[in-house]
Amino acid sequence: MVSTQKKADKTYKVIGTRPVRPDGVDKVTGRAKYGADIQLPGMLFGRVLRSPHAHAIIKKIDTSKALALPGVKSVITHKDLPTAADAALNLGETTDNLKWISDKVLAAEDALFHGQALAAVAAVDKHIAEDALALIDVEYEILEPVLSVHTAMDKKTPSIHDNMKTVDMIARFQVGEISETQINNVASILDLELGDLDAGFKEADIIIEREFETGTYHQGYIESHNGTAQWNENDEVTVWLSTQGAFNARDQLAALLQVPMSKIKVIPMEIGGGFGGKIPMYMEPLAAIMSKQTGKPVKMHMQRDEVLLATGPTSATYIKVKVGAKNDGTIVAADAYLAYEAGAYPGSPVSGGGVSMFMPYAIPNVRALCLDVIVNKTKTAAYRAPGVPAAAFAIESIIDELAEKLEIDPIAIRMHNAAEEGTRRHDGVLAPSMAVKELLEEAQATEHWNAELSDPSIGRGIAIGAWGNGGMESSASASINSDGTINLNTGSVDIGGQRASLAMQLAETLGVEYDSIKPQVVDTDSIGYTAVSAGSRTTFATGIAVIEVGNKIKKQIINRVATFWEIDANALKYNDDGSVSSPDKIINFKEIAAMLPNTGGRIQASIDIQATTHVPTIACHIVDVKVDEETGKVDILRSTALQDVGKAIHPAYVEGQTQGGILQGIGMALYEEYYYDDKGILKNASLLDYRMPTSYDVPFTEIILVEKPNPGHPFGVKGVGEVPIVPPLAAVANAIYDAVGVRPNILPVNPRRLSVLLKEKNNK
């Protein structure tokens, strides 16, 4: 496999190298402690009873038999939760409402999706807890479930939430007033418009309008959700869990449990994948309440079917897009209608889709109407570039068709319409510097794009996509030991090598060896507020915090050496190798560290920042597929991913993020999907039937990293985690068209769906 890096100009000592990650040995020996690995004396095991119906009124829950089972210590239902206020809560990548979170944690009056939690049990071992679930009697009045955005919005369909009004969104995450447009079961509307659509379409020589659908996809992290809680007699609560954000978890718990934030200590354990899905709370608050009731620590660990049933996958979507272009390929107008399933409570990432889908392009007249639609399915959560893969599938399929109809090369048409710095976007923002053209030029030059196709059943597709990335709050602290080693603490959960990327940035800043820095992720009592490891923000934003800490330390060192040498600090220079020199003297980092204890004490620094200088990144995927026309099976033969990363701090982990994102995108294109029956029952809640790609399904993905530095980060970092998942859906669909001449408009395009399309084509 080849991996190429188109380097940014500046050279560094540590940045851009590929050291072994600090937590590596623990993770290859099985010593690293993940959330479910916690063991405490006297610990109880909790389990959750879930609704077998997608929509039902809960008439009665009788827990008496379960409570009577020897070994059972606690059984709780919604009435054991504190009353939750009907108020908004900011969760980093998405917003939520406390009453809804509370109802999702344990259903109140009704069950709104298959798998919704109804009651929880804590017992001395997990077999007994499981036995107890079978002893809980629930009486339901079963209602008709609402299972698609179209049915949900139909006037004849009853509202799932009686009092819910459609609200206007002002921007992504920003809820406005109650809307003039009231649509049944639509929680919110975001209507973004730029220019004059009618005038734009009048200028067009060609107009293409298409409808698209995508299925419900799960993040598919291999570690199930888990949480262990100890509620002390003084009402202090300690929670060990796998989360993308310890502070976010703490604040949700504080609100749900109605305990002051300072009294909750969240200890983030190692996390076995998240992709956006490990931000909401599920059974962690139940563990806390049952610990309060029993005085013992309670551990909960979801079974895999519970993860698929009742955590937050991404939205199934319906998207209609109309694009008008001139004969020379200039896109003059684009109109998109996006309806995303939120699940049973508001909060789909539809606005992410509506904002990002046009981001790579400069289109003068654009509209994106985004609807957040309630259905009787599990509440969706963020999943890697939330909302964007489906929307990019739509626009990139249409651009491919435009290129074909206008007989323009697919790269050339994208190049022709590429957004530039200063392009006005339909969300009102002026586009910052992006690398659309640079990336397309690199794509054009790849061996892959120029290679001959060996067989007519093989097709090649290309697509691009953008993601805005995230900033938000981060804290860091570092202290220098007398032997010259450094302890670095942050609150950013290490979900894929961030200890390494943060230690590298501090090493580069201070001019010290990477190995001399020991980075650690600490609990919420031990560091300032730090937002979630999500939004591709950690290496970028916590990176800025770490660099700032380094700069503070440098300043203190200069002052200390100045005092020690009795010389003016301005006469001193902090050198690239960590030494400090005056015109006639030099002292190296180790010597400085050694003198600190006796010249005023050791040095430590801490900082909290709010990063706002994040910029979007662009990704591109080129893929060759072979289609078996008889069965409709698609094989991936070759795959190349290009990505603008700003600056790759640890290129191996950047490549890994890209390869992982590409494969999740391929899963969305070809394999993965939730199957609900007409009663809203999820029929494939296992990793056998929810079919994620295996190592045998795919070839290597060649990686080309393009480095166009972000001026808003000292080393140029943009963020890498999310954008690679965006282009593969359309790239695969476009490759299928190239191979067999049918355009998949519903994903995943599994053998069944593709066979139907092929049959239609052959009958024509």
């Binding site: 590929r18 590596g24 071992d125 598919g220 199930s224 895999r304 640890h650 982990y653 992982g660």
Partner: protein
């Protein structure tokens, strides 16, 4: 209430006796009764390979084996694959190649890869991909895992 049973097995080279519930899977027993939490639970259903161990030298998903079945047998977990004071070449290769991101799948992959290299020291890419298809990784896209196993194979040949 279910019954408790006493089980004796060779665990990572040492005879180990432990008490388990008769309903415990080997995975339950290793993690909850013995504390070998390097063995991971991803699905509890035989579909992800995170719980892979060697049972009498054969690669199995420990969530699909009852604890009682290992009485008198031998079990190797990720905690037992390192050589004395030195990582197993496949562990070292995973570190060098950045073949783990979150790391939750890693113990299962390491045990499976070791089992492969024990019987087939120079596997082809196709053979590695086929053998590891029972282990799911959601972070890496598998690329660097395959490369790491190739590197481990090479470094074991040199020894």
């Amino acid at each position: 209430m279910s019954k408790k049973i006493v089980i004796s097995t060779d665990l990572n080279g040492d005879i180990t006796e432990f008490i388990a519930d008769e309903r415990d899977s080997l995975l339950d027993a290793l993690r909850e009764r013995i504390g070998l939490t390097g063995v991971k639970e991803g699905c509890n259903n035989g579909n992800c390979g995170a719980c892979a161990v060697l049972l009498d030298g054969i690669l199995v998903n420990s969530c699909c084996v009852m604890a009682a079945e290992v009485d008198g047998g031998s079990v190797t977990t990720v905690e037992g694959i390192a050589l004395e004071n030195e990582l197993h070449p496949v562990q070292q290769a995973f570190l060098n190649e950045a073949a783990l991101q979150c790391g939750i799948c890693t113990p299962g992959f390491l045990v499976a890869a070791k089992a492969l290299l024990d019987t087939n020291p120079e596997p082809t890419e196709e053979e590695i991909r086929f053998w590891l298809a029972g282990n799911l990784c959601r972070c890496t896209g598998y690329d660097k895992i395959i490369t790491a196993v190739q590197e481990a194979s090479k470094s074991m040949q040199k020894k």
